[in-house]
């Protein structure tokens, strides 16, 4: 008798579990799932950018879920280790194996170039977080209509910094030191030079280093004898920080100018206690935040216990862009998402009120920050 009783209990449990599974499947049919593939640099040279972007994206998803989404979201995350080939492998897997509806990332230009090509070929919309190289979205040879970015591009960045040096600092001569092995650095140095000379400034010297360099002493001594008002270094924090430290005061005669690769805590840590007068362009500066930025900062602090970096803010914006486009899209098919992303206008996000320009780059306000060993302070805002 007790054996029959036990069997009945087991069968009852099995029927109950099957009913629950069936209900779950039923609800899954009602709520479509948006699969987002995330490719960010969580290790390697660009880890400071990708890891922060991932945190920002996670906060955005949490906040959006709390506000309510008409679909489920499934995120598949891959680390490109700051390498172009790893990024391409990750994209191939996300597109062909995970069948994602959209890609978020990468954070850096070399990775974004290779992922962008694959996304375009396979018709998968992607939103780059912080890769600013112009040719990621469009060149004279191609137009990657599926590739969008949450940040501005190097053309805008070069214009903004050239204008800042010429009009705000009233400096007329510049020296440039760029990383010849990094497309981002090459592109930004060209953009700055073109705009600075168009305004009437003069670039008196141009020198290079390589991403593999760790000893910058010869370059520092070489540059120190150049007679220029500002020294523009469009590089990553990983190289600029040690450069400033090894200069040990020998660059004090210059005002140092940098791009969006500078405003990170890692730059401050690597540069050490002595930083000459220095300014850089930033995607996000949490002084006088908008309501959207304030909500993001609060949620980010609650989750991670620290203030968000500009790269975290871009990760947040990229996720919000995809979710907003998915909400407005007629379906979660890739082509519908692309069309909906392209139609984004005046969307309030953490880094500003967002629209895409004709190159599908962000058209929004940027910040120029002053850099001291203690941190970054807002110097002025720049509008496109």
């Amino acid at each position: 008798m007790s054996r029959w009783k036990g069997l009945s209990i087991i069968m009852g449990c099995a029927i109950f579990a099957a009913t629950l599974t069936s209900c779950d499947r039923q609800s899954g049919q009602d709520r479509p799932t948006l699969r987002i593939g995330m490719i960010l640099s969580e290790s390697g040279g660009a880890a400071a950018y990708g890891a922060d972007a991932k945190r920002g994206a996670e906060v955005a998803l949490e906040m959006a879920r709390a506000e309510g989404l008409p679909f489920d979201v499934d995120v598949v995350s891959r680390d490109d280790r700051s390498e172009q080939t790893e990024a391409a492998n990750a994209a191939t897997a996300l597109i062909n194996i995970d069948h994602v509806n959209a890609i978020l990332g990468p954070a850096i230009s070399p990775s974004a170039l290779s992922v962008g090509r694959l996304a375009q070929e396979n018709g998968v919309p992607m939103v780059v977080t912080s890769a600013t190289l112009d040719s990621i979205t469009r060149t004279d040879e191609y137009d990657r209509t599926f590739v969008f970015r949450a940040c501005f591009n190097d053309t805008f960045q070069g214009q903004a910094m050239a204008s800042f040096v010429f009009n705000s600092l009233q400096d007329r001569t510049a020296a440039i030191v760029y990383d010849s092995s990094l497309p981002y650095s090459v592109g930004l140095s060209r953009a700055f030079r073109a705009d600075f000379e168009r305004l009437g400034g003069r670039v008196v010297s141009q020198d290079t280093y390589s991403s593999t360099d760790t000893d910058f002493s010869a370059l520092i001594t070489r540059t120190a004898r150049v007679d220029a008002d500002v020294l523009f270094i469009p590089g990553w924090d990983e190289h600029v920080g040690p450069m400033i430290r090894q200069a040990a005061g020998r660059w004090n005669k210059f005002t140092l100018i940098g791009g969006d690769g500078w405003p990170t805590d890692r730059l401050l840590q690597l540069a050490g206690p002595v930083i000459p007068e220095a300014y850089a362009l930033s995607h996000f500066q949490p002084e006088n935040p908008s309501p959207q930025a304030a909500a993001f900062i609060e949620a980010y602090r609650a989750r991670f216990g620290s203030n968000p970096t500009p790269f975290a803010a871009l990760g947040y914006d990229a996720m919000r862009l995809i979710l907003d486009a998915a909400k407005r899209a007629s379906s979660l098919e890739r082509e519908s998402l692309r069309a909906s992303l392209a139609a984004t206008r005046e969307l309030p996000l953490a880094t500003g009120t967002f629209s895409f320009d004709e190159t599908r780059s962000a058209r929004k306000e940027a910040s120029i920050v002053a850099i001291t060993p203690q941190g970054f302070t807002l110097r002025e805002r720049v509008r496109p």
Partner: protein, 294 residues
């Protein structure tokens, strides 16, 4: 200071790191005829030990920077000596008498193992070495450290009782054993010596160049191995001279290349090394002292 003098100082500073690291390769090869590929990671460990010590000293280190650097040097030298001895005892001694390829593979294995332990423990990102305001140009610290270390090394190898045993084992371990020398202890001492010098090189790197990274020793180690070969493997004076020479060539090439061509610095430097190897495959030690082997 003139432009040329400043660039020479840059070259000597870089050459100091090269020479101190390369000495370790040379000493071990001189005694055991083995390529200790893991020596690069001993150098990296030296930078990390100094990094930890200086972080631990905190404000006291900032108030007394010279004392802090000396403490970091002592800690890195002894820590790296211990690490190097452990490697010898665990990974190399059991293979004594095995084919050279087995020892080489063991060394490569230890190198990869240590790199991955470093990545797991500290992460793959580059860190900034704690900044110290010493009051003098850090490049002079590198040159002074090299001069002091080289003096100690010369005494150790050519004037101390251990040096006599070391040279005896390098010359002929069997005969040395018949004379009452215990080769295992001498080899262990050679590893301690090479580790200690890699530790000092690590501290100099941190103080002058300011970065710490778990894989930072790999490329530097390759260059140092070439330096040890060109110096005449086992030749202390030859290794020192070649280390300084490579540092100077590398810096002066970068200093006098036309603007915007810094990327070809490494190919030029490596071509010079290749040419030197072709012209003198046995290194320059024969030019200094044909009998010298450690």
């Amino acid at each position: 200071m003139s432009y040329f003098a400043s660039q020479v100082l840059n070259g000597l500073s870089l050459g100091s790191v090269y020479a101190l690291t390369a000495i370790g390769f040379g000493v071990i090869y001189g005694v055991l005829r083995m390529l200790n590929f893991a020596h690069s990671e001993v150098f990296t460990s030296g930078v990390f030990i100094a990094y930890g010590v200086l972080l631990g000293l905190g404000d006291w280190g900032q108030a007394y920077p010279v004392a802090a650097i000396l403490i970091a040097i002592a800690a890195a030298a002894s820590g790296c000596a211990l690490l190097s001895m452990t490697m010898e005892r665990v990974a190399y001694r059991p293979l004594r008498g095995a084919p050279p390829i087995a020892v080489l593979l063991s060394a490569i294995g230890v190198s990869i193992f240590l790199q991955n332990v470093g990545i797991h423990a500290f992460g793959a990102q580059t860190r900034g070495f704690p900044g110290l305001t010493v009051g003098i140009d850090p490049r002079w610290i590198a040159v002074a450290a090299l001069a002091a270390c080289f003096g100690v090394l010369l005494w150790t190898v050519y004037a101390s009782p251990f040096g006599v045993k070391l040279r005896a084992v390098a010359e002929n371990p069997t005969v040395a054993k018949l004379m009452g020398v215990r080769p295992d202890y001498v080899i262990l001492g050679a590893f301690a010596l090479s580790g200690a010098y890699a530790g000092v090189a690590g501290v100099i790197w941190g103080v002058v160049y300011g970065t710490v990274h778990p894989q930072m020793g790999f490329y530097l180690g390759l260059k140092c191995f070439i330096i040890a070969v060109l110096g005449g493997v086992g030749s202390v004076v030859g290794t020192l001279l070649m280390g300084l020479a490579l540092g100077l060539v590398e810096t002066l090439v970068a200093a006098y290349l036309p603007d915007g061509h810094a990327a070809i610095r490494e190919p030029i430097v490596l071509s010079v090394l290749l040419l030197a190897l072709v012209l003198r495959p046995g290194g320059i030690s024969g030019l200094i002292d044909p009998r010298e082997r450690v």
